[in-house]
Symmetry: C2
Subunit: 287 residues, 2 copies
DNA sequence: TGTCAACAAAATATCGACAATTTGGTACTA
DNA sequence: TAGTACCAAATTGTCGATATTTTGTTGACA
């Protein structure tokens, strides 16, 4: 089914009578419409929207993802949402346990440390292969992505929310372009999963302390090394690039990281409950 | 919903009137019943059954996983099956593309080569950490798992199907026990995904050429090195262990690997179609 | 006062039906 | 002989309703 282009849907993509029960999403509207047109299926739409919500921290780490609530907010059926959530398990952004529904995966500095450690491996593997294989189109892609990233006015960056979003997108695109010529599908997959997870932490880091100054110089150095086909240098710089984010975030107290994003709105999602910790006296009545 | 223990299901776990339309699964019955009791939910049941089916090659690599057919065979609703399939995407055993449904991921010697390469990394990372952290319980687990594996009569192995299954299970359990003390969740996750994928190839290798003689000596050597806390040696042996499987499979012609398991029954699943290759003249009518 | 059982409310998992799209085939046109 | 438009069948994606389980609360009883 086509969500955006569908001519006459039976159900209700935009239920006319739903109106006031759910307040219209504030800063999401623009992007949602965009995504709804991109997505080939409603599942994909829900998937992308959820993913962004988690990465940006609107869906707090550890919080329960209640089907009914999200279903209403996104305007899709429960099974559709459920499937989108199942797909997110592949990205290690959501966990699904037995009869307890879905949950955003927790955040912690130890987790991030591990992510960075593995990310250095995968990123350098991918980069090395990309540098070895990359043709002229690859070079063009890298240069282009860097240029777009560079166009952003870094001085005004901390003032505008939208600008930060744009920066994040272009930053992502740049790093993606660097490894675009890597053909190993497994390396790419793992790298991608790790990157998305790291994004969550970076988002938090930016929300707390702004964008690290001089980051563009790092990007430039990595790009130049890559274009010069100096794999060793490019990898070393990439590793430092990753480490700097880690050290930056490690400055913040651990509980603040686990708590997620304090300033951002928690759009209708329950806070993480300590359900697992509470022992239940009543034994589950299983025959 | 509880599948196994449910007292009075509304639907039809075992639809009484379904009878002859779908032939009763031959060698699956035993295991299915087993799994149905294990699983906390029907989704989990379908998930496990699909996973085993893919690993064993009953669901051929590249083949389309048609909802309706599987749904009837497993006796679950379409959304349930769908969700199970979505979960399998996390394991990189199934792909889901846009409006084209689900598909078993392809097999190839290049893919296996890459899996082995990454597996050596992850396996040694996990093993090193496990050796460093492992306590007495860990040692006991390793010794126990090895013992169970060793109990299998390796001489009669190639004669009995059931015995091979048991061997595979215990082999899995042994390798799992070795890394049980590794605490890095990401390493464990990746290792596990890679292991399951490698299992598919190993299954094929065994189906074609039987179990490699002397494998038990390798297992013993790895175990002894691990218990002696000689991480370097244990890792080196593990890498060799992985490489041997790779070299074994590399002997077979490439097309045989891509084709999957020739001898095994293809339980009602369509062969891989070359849909992607066929160009469609008619443009998709999108407004 | 604290444990346990029964009950009510909330949330999850499951189902089957239906809508929309892809697939495969056939006939029409150049 | 392509190429293309058009239909029928097969298949996928979506929906909303219902069964089942988990969670929370209240009240009896030791």
């Amino acid at each position: 089914m086509r969500p955006g282009q569908a001519k006459s849907m039976s159900g209700s993509i935009l239920p006319p009578e739903r109106g006031p029960s759910i307040k219209p999403a504030e800063m999401w509207d623009e992007k949602d419409r965009h995504h709804r047109q991109d997505a080939k299926t409603l599942i994909e739409y829900a998937y992308k929207r959820l993913k962004i919500g988690i990465i940006r921290g609107h869906l707090a780490p550890g919080s329960k993802l209640k089907i009914e609530r999200l279903r209403k907010e996104y305007g899709v059926a429960s099974s559709t949402l459920r499937e989108a959530l199942s797909l997110l398990v592949a990205d290690s952004l959501v966990t699904a346990e037995g009869q307890q529904g879905f949950r955003v995966v927790q955040m912690s500095i130890e987790d991030f440390r591990e992510i960075c450690s593995l990310r250095k491996m995968m990123e350098t593997l991918a980069l090395r292969e990309s540098i070895a294989n990359g043709d002229e189109d690859w070079e063009a892609g890298v240069v282009g992505a860097f240029h777009k990233l560079n166009l952003i006015d870094f001085k005004r960056l901390n003032s505008s929310e939208a600008l930060v979003d744009a920066y994040n997108e272009r930053n992502h695109a740049f790093h993606e372009a660097l490894v675009a010529a890597c053909r190993s599908s497994w390396v790419r997959r793992f790298r991608s999963v790790l990157y998305d997870n790291a994004r969550r932490y970076r988002h938090l880091s930016v929300a707390k302390g702004g964008i690290r100054p001089g980051i563009q110089a790092e990007h430039r150095a990595i790009m130049e090394a890559a274009l010069a086909r100096d794999a060793d240098l490019a990898c070393r710089l990439s590793e430092e690039h990753i480490d700097l984010t880690l050290h930056r975030l490690a400055q913040f107290p651990a509980e603040e990281i686990a708590a997620g994003f304090p300033g951002l709105p928690r759009r209708g999602i329950a806070a993480p409950t300590s359900a697992a910790a509470r022992p239940r006296a009543r034994a589950a009545k299983r025959s």
